[in-house]
Symmetry: C2
Subunit: 311 residues, 2 copies
């Protein structure tokens, strides 16, 4: 299967799916369109958590336990930083810092994020192409029961505990897709929405004008893997957020959010009874095991997705 594949990706869930995908499709045929709504500037450093999670995972450098950050990481710089700053709630590993320092330096020199990302991924030996959704700044803000929070404050500092009442992608309306993003979607043989939080991981990507239209217009089949299994998020606050925002915490609700462009929805076996409801949204359903507990499971899921797209 030497098909060209475009993947809309958030962080950890997407990265795990991609690990399997690049074992089923040649890695160089995969273009990942990454969420940058989670990005933050801290201590003057430009940090792109989702892009880096994908990068480190595809480079085989990620910490397998945590999912984020690098394996065998140390935090000496962060410890030293505590003497200077209160803003040390965001975990910055020593090796991880090198990425942020390099990226920040290039951005400040005027390079767009897409070009910086090419350099980072190339330096780490990644064969797939990773594109930020946009070179413009888009920031996810959450309207929560304790007030407006930027994404990382919500996600890391308050551990995603406050109830979310609304989500805003600040800057999205004025943003353009990064160079290559629309082409990747339009020219792909298959487009995959990774099993990421539909609200805050895929949502920011879809909010960049032009991307959702491209998903509707591409002749490639668009396949999504449900990040909600048995009413629970595989990881993170997706289920609680879907509920508090009134969508309901179900795989069917996720499919509903993608209804206007999705052709195929991959449901976990435990949600087999939702098949009819999802089909009523006008899309095909594939039921299979979706829990990516190990590499065989990741690879098997990717194979099912690619086969569904090809049929």
């Amino acid at each position: 299967m030497a098909l060209s594949v475009a993947v809309l990706a958030g962080g950890v869930g997407a990265a795990r799916f991609l690990e399997g995908l690049v074992r089923v499709v040649p890695a160089e045929n995969v273009t990942v369109i990454g969420n940058t709504g989670d990005d933050l500037e801290l201590h003057g450093l430009a940090i792109c958590p989702d892009l880096d999670t994908v990068t480190y995972t595809l480079a085989g450098l990620s910490d397998p336990e945590r999912g984020w950050g690098l394996a065998n990481e140390s935090f000496h710089a962060l410890d030293a930083l505590r003497k200077f700053s209160e803003d040390t709630w965001f975990q910055l590993g020593d090796r991880d810092l090198a990425t942020h320092i390099f990226r920040s330096s290039l951005l400040r020199s005027g390079f767009p994020l897409s070009e910086v990302t090419v350099r980072v991924t190339r330096a780490l030996g990644i064969a797939s192409k990773l594109l930020p959704m946009s070179d413009n700044t888009v920031r996810t803000w959450l309207d929560t029961e304790i007030g407006q929070l930027d994404f990382q404050t919500y996600f890391v500092k308050t551990r995603a505990e406050p109830e979310v009442r609304g989500v805003e992608f600040v800057g999205a309306n004025e943003a353009s897709p990064a160079p290559g993003v629309l082409d990747a979607i339009m020219q792909a043989d298959a487009v995959i929405i990774a099993p990421s939080n539909p609200i805050i991981s895929v949502g920011p990507i879809l909010a960049v004008p032009g991307i959702r239209d491209a998903l509707r217009e591409t002749s490639a089949p668009v396949v999504a893997v449900s990040p909600i299994v048995g009413g629970q998020a595989v990881k993170g606050p997706a289920a609680a957020m879907m509920t508090s925002l009134g969508h309901g915490a179900s795989a069917t609700a996720v499919a509903g959010l993608y209804e206007d462009f999705l052709n195929i929805f991959v449901l976990d076996e435990v949600d087999a009874d939702s098949e009819a409801a999802v089909e009523e949204l006008g899309m095909r359903v594939v039921v299979c095991p979706t829990m990516m507990t190990g590499m065989p499971e990741k690879e098997a899921l990717a194979r099912v997705v690619m086969e569904a797209a090809a049929s």
Copy 2:
């Protein structure tokens, strides 16, 4: 001796002297005027090697073997940076990076270096006041046999090996002393020129308009400790540089460079035979052991200097 003391300081030699001085004079009575001609920007980080050497040493955090950097330091971030950049010849420790990240962030927010330095030294618990010679950018460039080199390229990358034919302090003419520098010199009970390289450590400080005049005008005695002992630099390239620039590598030549403002010159015992020559320059000479091999020696030297200033 609760005298107020101002010290013009370079890096390692000055820091060692200061360690002794703050054991003889209350640390809070000491104002250090630090060289920033060695500063560099690398990977977008503002690095102030001499200020940091003084800071880390006075904080008791410096590496006792190397003289620069922090004790028990690791270099994981730098190792990771090697994947991205060729510019990894400057040793940036993980803990040290925290200082540069914090400083760079504040500078970018608009704080002047003097204010940033207050915050850094306060965070590390230093009782003495450390002032950069200027809040303006001054950069030491060396005209060498292999071309024009900025200070750190010369000092670190080429290990101070190329013969130096000229020295320029770019930006010095347009620079102003940082707030407090002139007052510290004018209001001190004693001014000390630390045993630092007169060309490239003390030289940049003296090149900032107003500082040399203040040294000439202050009613405080100005005392220098020779960094050249027996025709050799105690540390670094001072002797070779003095020779190639035509000054000659001797304690007497150092005294000659400070002739217009110096009242007392502290000579090492091995240079006792230079006493007359230095006195002919119109200054008093004190001969004593100046090699700061341990804390007792550092303290003894500081005591001699303070006693000379008081008499």
